[in-house]
Amino acid sequence: MRYEAGIAGGGGQGIVLMGTILAEAVASDENLYVAQTQSYDPAVRGGRAEAGLVISDEEIDYPEALELNLMVALNQAGYERNAGKLKRNALVVVDNDLVNHIVWHKILRIPFTAMARDKFKDERVANMIAMGALTNLCEYLDSSAVEKSISSRFKGEVLDLNLPAFREGVDYGAKVRGSGFDSVEEEDIEI
């Protein structure tokens, strides 16, 4: 088994942090190996930012994610950079407001950034909401393991901001999955 996920967006969106936290959660499963890679531009904000996750039940030879089972894109450029790496039937999860032009089948649009802004008054927690949602969309991500990783990384008011956002994402993901993707627009476009 080799499962590959790519997380893409811009500098400042917490892309690499997402990769790290999710990888740490997967690593806590004693039956799974995980490798997480990252790639970013020198610009702290706005540049290219990507994280890759390779999950396997055997030791991982090549650690980069090149054939994605899952793509998460938090901006349009991130989506476009990775669209060519998608496997057939890969799941694509995008930020509703920041990714506008999509050509692929099996897409979930979730307003991560808008939710972060409206509910938590802080766009920075969009990545936490996204991670929460992902725990319902990727069989190798366990929400309690991810929550543990988040809790070990932050403390005080930073944790108080991030953890509720993550839980919001978990609830949203459950709702989306429970309703069979009905609550969000879904596209079936063969390319």
């Binding site: 790290t20 990888a23 740490e24 690593a27 990252q38 030879d61 980069e64 090149l66």
Partner: protein, 377 residues
């Protein structure tokens, strides 16, 4: 049994250094090596160690040499531009026989190059960047676990041979996180520099005890001696006498080359019956591992030798492959640096093919597989 954890390559180097007994770090921040400095700044003070951010990499290397002379296991971490600045003092550490470890996380060059992307362009610099004829030990991890293990070994080798040791990683290996189980302290072998046993008044600081490595007291322990970048006699004072200069330089080389057979560290995959062998290191070795597996699935008899020691160049293992395989393929993210070494030791035994990529992007298994297909065609 130690616990499994998710660890970054740079952090694994920090953990390896601490496990080996490193208690001094001087450096200057640079992408993609900064996490090494971050980790050392965090971990050293609680261990009564010293972290110091210097004004530049020249001073950093100077501070590392000073700390080592004072008895500490010392290291620095940098990337290409900083590594260039350190070369003068690496040369000094080599002639003055000061144990120290330098980690160079290779990024795209030359100069400032592509700071956040990987390359493998510092291989020759690691070997020959410092001026003058000098020996050099260069190690190259290709996983997070190896970052830990080879950093421990780098300290052991530097202490054993009284010589600077370079660890070459690249941006992918350094920034990658992998699930690892690190060995516990009692599973790790540590080598500390030998100290003189005779009384200070009988101490001859650079006399060869037979191993080529003179014992080394720490400053302040009562042994007075002269440390110099000039070629020196047994007492440490400058000399120009041919009958002293020649054995001195010979000893610098021989103290390491006499153990050459012990420094053939590499992992082999499917090399028993291979007709094409790949020689690779660093992140490219990981791509090669997958490519070899995929090639085998298609019935192609391809093997892989993953180099963990780049210098002294592992000619024992490489030439063994050359005797069995008609072709060796050397993929690397530069215009051909390790392939030069492979060609140097080949001497007509087999065909050496190269695969070079300088887009400062990771090499993919598919690219190597395509090249394998080309060779087979």
């Amino acid at each position: 049994m130690q616990k499994a954890e998710l660890l970054q390559g740079n952090d694994a180097c920090v953990r390896g250094a601490l496990a080996a007994g490193c208690r001094f770090f001087a450096g200057y921040p640079i992408t993609p090596a900064s996490e090494i400095a971050h980790g050392m700044a965090r971990e050293l003070p609680p261990l009564d160690g010293t972290f110091i951010q210097m004004e530049d990499e020249i001073a950093s290397m100077g501070a590392v040499i000073g700390a080592s002379l004072a008895g500490a296991k010392a290291m620095t971490g940098t990337s290409g531009p900083g590594f260039s600045l350190m070369q003068e003092h690496i040369s000094y550490a080599s002639i003055a026989e000061v144990p120290c470890v330098i980690i160079d996380v290779m990024r795209g060059g030359p100069s400032t190059g592509v700071p956040t992307h990987l390359a493998q362009g510092d291989v020759m610099q690691a070997r020959w960047g410092a001026h003058g004829d000098h020996p050099m030990i260069v190690l190259a991890p290709s996983s997070v676990e190896e970052c830990f293990r080879l950093t421990v070994e780098a300290f052991n080798l530097s202490e054993k041979y009284r010589t600077p040791v370079v660890i070459l990683t690249d941006e992918v290996i350094a920034h990658m996180r992998e699930k690892v189980i690190l060995p516990s302290a009692d599973e790790i072998k540590i080598f500390d520099r030998r100290k003189p046993t005779q009384p200070p008044e009988w101490f001859v600081p650079y006399r060869d005890p037979g191993t080529g490595v003179p014992p080394m007291p720490a400053f302040g322990e009562g042994y007075r001696y002269h440390v110099s970048g000039l070629v020196h006699d047994e007492m440490g004072y400058p000399t120009t006498r041919a009958d002293e200069v020649d054995p001195f330089i010979q000893r610098l080389f021989h103290k390491i080359s006499r153990d050459f057979d012990k420094l053939q560290w590499g992992e082999e995959y499917y090399t028993d019956d291979s007709t094409l062998d790949i020689v690779a290191f660093g992140s490219v070795a990981r791509a090669a591992q997958r490519a070899v597996k995929q090639a085998r699935e298609r019935g192609m008899k391809v093997g892989l030798l993953k180099l963990q020691v780049l210098y002294p160049f592992m000619r024992r293992k490489v030439t063994k492959l050359m005797r069995n395989s008609p072709t060796i393929l050397v993929p690397e993210i530069n215009m051909g640096q390790i392939s030069r070494e492979v060609k140097r030791v080949n001497q007509g035994k087999c065909k050496v093919e190269t695969l070079n990529k300088v887009a400062h992007e990771t090499m993919t298994p598919q690219e190597i597989l395509d090249k394998i297909g080309e060779i087979y065609a």
